[in-house]
């Protein structure tokens, strides 16, 4: 078992999906053991693949050369149209597969406890396996077409997970919203893929990148196709202006599917852009677009998170914001920083979601900050682990979020003028603010609702154990940036020496940068602590009184949801109703049904002929033919 057989990692959960979907209901324990076995085996085999990959890489004379292992199989060909599919293992996909298999295994085990006794228990595990298989295929695929299949597969599985409690109307609505919103991006992605294929004649990612970097694709053409592809990434990552679906997606089974969407699915877009980054570099304008979208997203969602009181929705907005950070790093040509933040974020955000789930279970399904408060006495372990996750999210040293965000800060110097660095700093302050607010209002201060507080209790060991494991990882994951730590784990060096775009970069501690970002983090934390712990919440009420317009705008999420709804209602559906109305009343009913009603009783077939329909249709045919003939004759002139 080596890197050549990486496809087995995908095949195992895919097989589990098929078995569970077809007959999971009748298996012992509804087949949850099978799911754990499949993803567990994938995790174990992943280490074999990784080991083999690193081993083959060590064999190179110059171990700093970019090393990858690719496998090809022919799928189909027609004329000069060939389709190959295969796997591509390089540091980027190796890290992604690691995140997916580790997170996937933990989620699957956690689900056994969390989903116990729920309806359609087997179906949950089936979809979970389908999701993981699609996600693994996405990161291992060596060509854009296979990647697109996997991309759609991830989308369908997430649709099914969000809508898992379809008895709840809000869940069904959220599933629909997520599906439609991401599909808009998906269409863009498909167009982008087709455009690139038309220019290069291949779907193979590496071949396309070679063509792009050697100037075989015109710059304007390349820019347009990359923007279409970025549209797909924006939809999947819920970037502005597609951010509306992710907070609603929190309707899925708490916190399991929430976690899937936060830590795993949405980063597919980050991976895609990181994968194609060499092509983006050819056209600097495209990098600028990525950076700006990332900045707007990070700042906008920071404000929204400040105006939300639902714990899970705050976490959802923070996820979008952190994705914005990753895209900023990508826009600065620093996939190393982006992927490192992706990795640390996956762990600390999983921790936060599971801890939030623990709060929700511990308080008997209460997830509104307005009714919580003072919970640390009742749920000490949850509080401590939540605190660790929050500190990492707020980028307080030495927690993992600090190191990865520091890398991003470093990267922003790629843009002249420092405006990116400045705005990023602003977004980081917002992050620290809302994170502290979340923690303070949930765990500290006075209980807001005495009944909720009295009934609160710490959750059982099945839920607490994953929290502790994830908290430990969150404490240490950031240290992988150090050369020594990386070497000790068997990698050629620290994180940025393993994942890189042009050449490996050894991490050097830059004290002034570190101090600056630490000040930003602490500043945000203290400001929020001053406001919320010091019970100066009146500040926000005063804001509401002083500027109700601004406040309402925040609470109503800048009115994006309403805008989109109106667009869909009035635009598309309106159009189809007009056409259908025309069909029903003008084509069908004009003198048709009225006459038909009176003649229905007579039962004579002939009368049906005289309903006006048939002559109308015949006229339609004749007019169509005449119209076509005229068009045909005009066209030739």
């Amino acid at each position: 078992m080596g890197a050549d057989q990486a496809w087995i990692l995908v095949a195992l959960p895919a097989a589990a999906f098929v078995v569970l979907a077809l007959c999971g209901r009748w298996l012992p324990r509804q087949g949850d053991v099978l799911a754990v076995l499949a993803i567990g085996a994938s995790l174990v085999l992943y280490f074999f693949v990784l080991h083999d990959f690193l081993h083959q890489r060590d064999g190179l004379v110059n171990s700093h050369e970019y090393w990858s292992i690719a496998m090809h199989h022919t799928w189909s060909n027609v004329g000069n149209f060939n389709l190959n599919f295969g796997t591509y293992v390089d540091p980027l996909s190796a890290v992604m597969v690691g995140v997916v298999t580790i997170a996937g295994t933990l989620i699957t085990i956690f689900s056994i406890g969390y989903m116990k006794g729920e309806v359609r228990y087997w179906w949950f595990f089936a979809v979970l396996m389908g999701f993981i298989a699609a996600k693994l295929m996405l990161v291992l695929s060596d060509n854009l077409l296979l990647l697109y299949f996997a991309w759609e597969g991830v989308g369908v599985c997430s649709f099914l997970l969000i809508g898992f409690y379809w008895e709840k109307r809000s869940a069904a609505e959220a599933a629909k919203k997520a599906f439609i919103t991401t599909r808009i991006g998906d269409v863009g992605l498909l167009i982008g893929i087709i455009l690139l294929w038309k220019a290069t004649g291949t779907f193979n990612i590496q071949d396309i990148l070679t063509a792009a970097t050697t100037g075989q694709i015109g710059h304007v053409y390349l820019f347009v196709s990359l923007m279409f592809i970025f549209l797909g990434a924006m939809g999947k990552s819920a970037l502005f202006p597609f951010h509306v679906w992710l907070p609603d997606a929190m309707e899925g089974p708490t916190p399991v599917s929430a976690l899937i969407h936060a830590a795993t699915m949405v980063v597919a877009g980050v991976y895609l852009i990181a994968r194609l980054l060499p092509a983006f570099e050819v056209v600097p304008a495209s990098l600028l677009v990525v950076t700006i979208v990332g900045l707007v997203t990070a700042i906008l969602t920071g404000f929204m998170a400040l105006a939300t009181t639902d714990i899970k929705k705050v976490l959802a907005y923070s996820t979008i914001g952190q994705l914005g950070f990753m895209y900023i790093a990508l826009g600065c040509s620093h996939p190393d920083a982006a992927i490192m933040h992706l990795m640390t974020h996956a762990f600390f955000k999983s921790l936060l979601f599971l801890a939030a789930g623990s709060v929700i279970i511990g308080t008997h399904h209460n997830q509104d900050m307005k009714q919580l408060g003072g919970l640390w006495r009742k749920m000490p372990i949850t509080a401590v682990t939540f605190l660790i996750g929050s500190l990492a999210l707020a980028a307080v040293p030495p927690f993992s979020g600090f190191w990865s965000k520091d890398e991003i800060f470093h990267g922003t110097t790629a843009w002249n003028g420092g405006w990116v660095t400045f705005l990023l700093g602003f977004a980081a302050v917002l992050t620290a603010l809302y994170t502290t607010r979340l923690f303070v209002r949930t765990f500290l201060g006075k209980p807001q609702d005495q009944a909720v507080y009295d009934n609160a209790h710490e959750t059982g060991p099945v839920m607490v154990l994953p929290l502790i494991i994830l908290a430990l990882i969150t404490c240490v994951a950031g240290f992988t940036v150090f050369n020594g730590v990386g070497r000790a784990m068997g990698f050629p060096g620290g994180f940025t020496e393993f994942v890189f775009l042009h050449e490996p970069e050894r991490f050097v501690m830059n004290w002034s940068w570190a101090a600056a970002s630490a000040v930003i983090a602490f500043g945000g934390v203290f400001l929020a602590g001053w406001i919320y712990w010091g019970n100066r919440i009146t500040i926000s009420t005063r804001l509401a009184d002083w500027q109700p317009g601004v406040y309402n705008m925040l609470v109503n999420k800048f009115y994006f949801d309403d805008l989109y709804q109106a667009g869909i209602d009035r635009g598309l559906l309106g159009f189809s109703y007009v056409v259908s109305w025309f069909d029903r009343y003008v084509v069908n009913d004009t003198g048709v049904d009225g006459v038909a009603d009176t003649t229905r009783y007579s039962g004579s077939i002939l009368k049906y002929v005289q309903t006006g329909k048939v002559p109308a249709y015949a006229l339609g045919i004749a007019l169509g033919a005449v119209g076509l003939a005229i068009a045909g004759l005009v066209v030739r002139g």
């Binding site: 167009i191 229905r600 004749a622 003939a629």
Partner: protein, 485 residues
């Protein structure tokens, strides 16, 4: 013997039709055997066709009016398969209808033989005769139901079909008048020699041909009969119309335009006409389908949109200066994919409506509780119609769009992709009703073996060719080799 050999597949079907009638009349107690006699006839027909492939014996016959080439063979297989599925799906319905069972199967078989002749004919008169041979039984079948809706559908189909035939005949007459021959390759020769002096009249003839066959193919603006007839006709017949006559329409129109009107100055005209018709059919069909509440009506409109997809391929064939065969093979692939998929969907609907007595989409709520098998199969067919992998429908769309891109019809492809997104809305809307809603009635739906088998075969085909598309693609490629000039 070569004469017998030439029409063997049709003969097998027609003999089976005669046997069915005889058994029905002489041995009324053995009526259960009728559909199986029909199936045996179809199997014999397919075997005979296969023997040509085995002998590699392709030729023209009857003075060049029939061409037994790989193109025809491809469609023989498709039609035999379609008809077999329709026969299987009809068994329950015909048993319940009770009367005139023999006639029903006999008409289906006769129509099948007409479709087969249509795909092999390369002479205008033969084409017209074959078209009528397949159409007249279909008119009768559409009106087979006992209710008024069905009678209305039958009569409407007959009247409008006659108008379409008249237009077609007029176009053929015009073509004959211009060229003095009815054999397709000879027409091409005369046109080539004549140059573009008669171009105006040729365009008119072409348009009349398109109108005549457009009726069969159900493309805009010749589509108006579709929703009414699909909704009114008995569902097995609807399945037959939506797949069989549409496929035959495309088979014959591609042959006519290739073999007779392939001159470069003409193809320049007709690729534009087809491209516009494709765009209009796709868009109108999809937009109308969104708001339908009756599933048969919805599939009727969606079949118009699918015909638009076929036309994308037809338009791609004709763009001057490009490889002919790519678009043609894409259309053939689409025909086969669409046959599997739409039949599967219709048969599932037959099974469901027999139980619940309704075709309203809202009555499909929670179907997966009542019959997981039918719900899953129907969902799979709808996913394939949308064009989402891993289904054969995905490959079909993929190759159609690929051909169009190669032919520099990028705008049509973008429109097609957008339309695919629209179609996802209503196709998956049904899936959502079936899986994400609670049933109003919990009573399980049982499927009878013939229906179960035919659905299982159709969905297995969708899936197997969705994962391993190469055999089907190769067959389609081989079939259009006759067009590689």
């Amino acid at each position: 013997m070569s004469g017998w050999d030439t029409v063997g597949p049709q003969l097998a079907v027609l003999v089976a039709a005669g046997l069915v009638l005889l058994v029905d009349a002489m041995l009324p107690r053995q009526r259960q055997a009728l559909p199986y006699i029909a199936l045996a006839g179809l199997a014999a027909s397919a075997a005979w066709t296969a023997s040509w492939v085995g002998r590699d014996d392709f030729h023209t016959a009857f003075g060049g009016t029939l061409s037994l080439d790989q193109y025809a063979v491809f469609f023989y297989f498709v039609f035999a398969g379609i008809t077999a599925a329709v026969v299987l799906a009809s068994i329950d319905w015909v048993n319940r209808a009770g009367r005139s069972q023999g006639e029903y199967y006999a008409l289906v078989l006769v129509a099948c033989s007409g479709l087969m002749f249509l795909s092999a004919a390369r002479d205008l008169i033969t084409i017209f005769l074959a078209l009528e041979l397949s159409s007249i039984p279909q008119y009768i079948l559409a009106g087979w139901g006992k209710d008024q809706k069905s009678s209305e559908a039958g009569l409407k189909y007959l009247l409008l079909g006659s108008i379409a035939s008249a237009l077609l005949l007029y176009g053929m007459a015009l073509l004959y008048g211009l060229t003095g021959t009815t054999i397709l390759p000879d027409i091409a020769q005369v046109i080539q020699q004549g140059g573009d002096t008669n171009r105006g009249l040729l365009v008119v003839a072409m348009v009349l041909l398109i109108a005549g066959f457009g009726f069969k193919m159900a493309i805009v603006p010749f589509q108006m009969w579709v929703p009414d007839v699909y909704q009114g006709a008995p569902t097995p017949v609807t399945a037959f119309l939506s797949v069989g006559s549409k496929a035959a329409g495309f088979a014959v129109i591609m042959r006519i335009f290739f073999e007779a009107l392939g001159a470069s100055f003409l193809s320049d005209d007709w690729f534009k006409i087809f491209a516009v018709l494709a765009a209009v059919s796709m868009t109108l069909g999809n937009v109308m389908a969104i708001v339908q509440s009756d599933i048969k009506r919805m599939l009727g409109y969606s079949s118009i949109a699918q015909a638009g997809n076929f036309l994308v391929g037809v338009a791609a064939i004709a763009v001057p200066g490009h490889e002919f065969t790519l678009g043609a093979s894409a259309v053939l692939l689409f025909v086969a994919a669409y046959a599997f998929t739409n039949l599967g969907a219709f048969i599932a609907i037959i099974a469901i409506s027999q139980k619940i007595g309704s075709d309203e989409i809202k009555d499909y709520r929670g179907m997966w509780r009542r019959s997981p098998f039918l719900a899953l199969a129907l969902a799979f067919c709808l996913v394939s119609l949308t064009g989402i992998p891993p289904t054969v429908g995905f490959w079909a769309k993929m190759y159609i769009f690929n051909a169009a891109i190669r032919a520099d019809l990028a705008w049509l492809v973008i429109l097609g992709v957008l339309n695919a997104a629209i179609s996802a809305y209503y196709y998956l809307g049904v899936v959502r009703q079936m899986f994400l809603s609670e049933p109003e009635d919990e009573e399980p739906i049982r499927t009878t073996p013939p229906i179960g088998i035919s659905i299982a075969v159709a969905t297995a085909g969708i899936f197997v060719f969705g994962v391993i598309p190469m055999p089907l693609i190769t067959a389609a490629k081989d079939a259009v080799q006759i067009f590689a000039h």
